[in-house]
């Protein structure tokens, strides 16, 4: 049942965005997030949001899929909008009921925040929909690689290897949890009934076997890795080469233009 979780949300499509170098994507994502926060007036925000939608369009993934991610954060959007609507006084009073007073500027702030949050979610989804978890790990490793000049080469490598292995074993562990749960249920354990304490207690017979089996797994995995000449970062050369190609330069240039226009709009209005 839960075996088939697509950890990460990668959706395979043949698009420009999919083919971009993952390092560049990760870097640009961070930049977009920063500039979305920097957009301080309606014009610049709307502009960078439009750019975001253009990127969504380029990724060939349907808007519906993107908006699935938004659905999950609707409560957050409502909450922030309410706070903003209630707490900014300015402009004309639109509505008042007892101590609740809503001004035009409040409405404006609420809309502004909503658009900002939505753009943030959308642009982040682009990365997770168009990049495989493995590519992402590689990108993180290579973006952190300057740390090796601080003598942290092994730390960066180890972290990346841990992420790779974690990604690999998540499905296996989910499957295993499933199995252990079934076998504990077959022994008469009940997991769905009882109060909180009772339920937490019911988790123990699942967690302990899971922990033990994970330790055994890691022991076996370590032997397998050692047998395949694993020796840490020492002498290791990745098969997958990452280079920038025209698409990457183009996307980089496009993003620079977007960022500059955002800043100019900020200044002009």
């Amino acid at each position: 049942m839960i075996k088939d979780v697509s950890f990460g949300q990668y959706i395979s499509k043949n698009s420009l965005i999919h083919k971009l170098d993952p390092r560049l994507k990760l870097f640009l994502l961070i930049a977009y997030i920063i500039f979305i926060f920097l957009a301080s007036n309606a014009y610049s925000l709307l502009f960078i949001t439009a750019a975001t939608f253009f990127i969504l369009f380029l990724s060939k993934i349907s808007l519906k899929t993107y908006f699935k991610n938004i659905r999950m954060i609707i409560p957050i959007i409502i909450f922030t909008s309410l706070l903003n609507a209630l707490y900014s006084g300015g402009g004309t009073l639109l509505f008042s009921y007892g101590f609740i007073k809503i001004y035009t500027s409040g409405i404006y702030r609420a809309c502004f925040m909503t658009v900002r949050i939505i753009s943030l979610i959308l642009i982040s989804s682009v990365l997770s929909y168009t990049t495989t978890p493995t590519d992402l790990t590689d990108a993180i490793e290579s973006l952190l690689s300057p740390l090796k000049y601080l003598g942290l080469k092994n730390a960066v490598h180890t972290m990346a290897m841990m992420m790779t292995i974690a990604l690999r074993f998540i499905p296996a562990l989910i499957e295993e949890t499933d199995k252990i749960m079934s076998s504990q249920k077959a022994r008469g354990a009940s997991m769905e009934s009882g109060g909180l304490i009772k339920r937490i207690k019911a988790l123990l017979p699942i967690l302990i076997p899971l922990l033990i089996s994970s330790i055994r797994r890691s022991y076996e995995l370590a032997e397998a890795m050692e047998s395949r000449c694993y020796n840490g970062a020492e002498g290791r050369v990745r098969m997958k080469e990452m280079h920038f190609i025209n698409k990457d330069y183009f996307s980089f240039a496009f993003s620079i233009v977007v960022f500059s226009v955002t800043i100019i709009l900020n200044i002009l209005f």
């Binding site: 075996k3 495989t132 978890p133 493995t134 790779t164 292995i165 990604l167 690999r168 499905p171 296996a172 499957e175 033990i212 330790i215 055994r216 797994r217 022991y219 076996e220 995995l221 032997e223 397998a224 890795m225 050692e226 047998s227 395949r228 000449c229 694993y230 020796n231 002498g235 290791r236 050369v237 990745r238 098969m239 997958k240 080469e241």
Partner: protein
């Protein structure tokens, strides 16, 4: 290397039986007169692995050795099966072969290099590959081709070379079309073939399979057996197959039987399986065809019990039945 024990308590309480009939070094009749004259390896000695009086203790202070004064030579291009009941020391022996474990006494030589020599550790591991029992616990990356690349990457090959090795390894195990799949979406047999490819990509001269078919269904088992037979025959890779399936062992050129950490017998499958007493004393079973013939013989029917596979058995039986018909 740290050792760790997890509920490996299934040690058969077989009394120490006295089978000293066979010598430990098995330079006997099972010569592999391989018609492979094209061995261009720098080391031309005919033994790829030499095990010399090796003992290994998991627990130095007390207890019996897991491997007890074992000597064995493994020839280049050989297909050796290792049999033995649970806890007889097969896996321990396997791990001694590529330096995952280092002998407490005696030594293991791989292409003449001792596994005790730390500086040769990578060299030895690259020569003697290992495929373990659980395919899930030996696949490291979440994409097949990246997993297969793990070995070559560690050995520092250029991306281009790694890519070529990955391609030929995946093709050798017939998994090339699955190169972009996630391992957890493959069947057991397919996963195990990926694991084999991962070892092959290091271009080893010898591969040790430690019960690599134990968790597979008959189909997966066949896939893996076919793969390893093919590697032995066409790529001249030395195969050491640890197994509990007698039918698999019967396909080897030579069998070594382990009992309480010792090699209690070694010889061709025919030799080993015709020794009924040895087989039962070491807690093993015969391949079904051989079992059948032995039972017939016990019943007083005069049959040749040396057949170890179905084809030979059918041969023997049909001869017998025809004779009966004529009489």
């Amino acid at each position: 290397m740290a050792t760790l024990q997890f509920g490996k308590g299934i040690i058969l309480k077989k009394s120490n039986n006295t089978i000293n009939n066979s010598n430990n070094n098995c330079n006997n009749n099972c010569n592999n007169c391989n018609n492979n004259g094209k061995s261009t390896k720098e080391n031309n000695s005919q033994n790829i692995i030499e095990i010399k009086n090796v003992s290994f203790y998991y627990n130095e202070t007390e207890g019996l050795p897991a491997v007890d004064n074992v000597s064995l030579n493994i020839k280049r291009g050989e297909f050796l099966a290792v049999l033995g009941h649970n806890g007889s020391g097969k896996s321990t022996l396997a791990k001694l072969l590529n330096g995952l474990l280092v002998p407490d006494s005696g030594e293991v030589l791989v292409n003449g290099l001792s596994t005790k020599d730390e500086s040769q550790s990578i060299n030895i591991k690259k020569t003697v590959g290992m495929v373990f029992q659980n395919p899930d616990n030996q696949i490291i990356a979440s994409i097949v081709e990246e997993d297969v690349a793990f070995g070559p990457e560690n050995l520092g090959f250029t991306p281009k070379e790694s890519r070529e090795r990955v391609e030929s390894a995946l093709k050798a195990v017939n998994m090339w079309e699955f190169r972009n799949k996630a391992p957890h979406k493959l069947s057991g047999g397919q996963k195990q073939r990926v694991a084999i490819a991962g070892v092959l990509a290091m271009q080893p001269e010898c591969i040790v399979f430690d019960e690599s078919t134990a968790m597979l269904d008959p189909k997966g088992r066949k896939e893996v057996m076919d793969t390893l037979l093919n590697l032995n025959k066409n790529n001249n890779i030395t195969i050491i197959l640890i197994t509990h399936f007698m039918e698999e062992a019967a396909r080897a050129k030579k069998i070594a039987v382990m009992n309480n950490g010792k090699i209690s017998a070694a010889g061709t499958p025919k030799n080993i399986f015709s020794d009924y007493k040895l087989i039962t004393d070491t807690g093993l079973a015969l391949p079904q065809p051989t079992e059948l013939l032995h039972t017939l013989k016990e019943k007083g029917i005069n049959v040749d019990v040396s057949a170890v596979n179905t084809t030979d058995c059918i041969e023997v039986l049909s001869k017998l039945l025809l004779k009966e018909k004529e009489a």
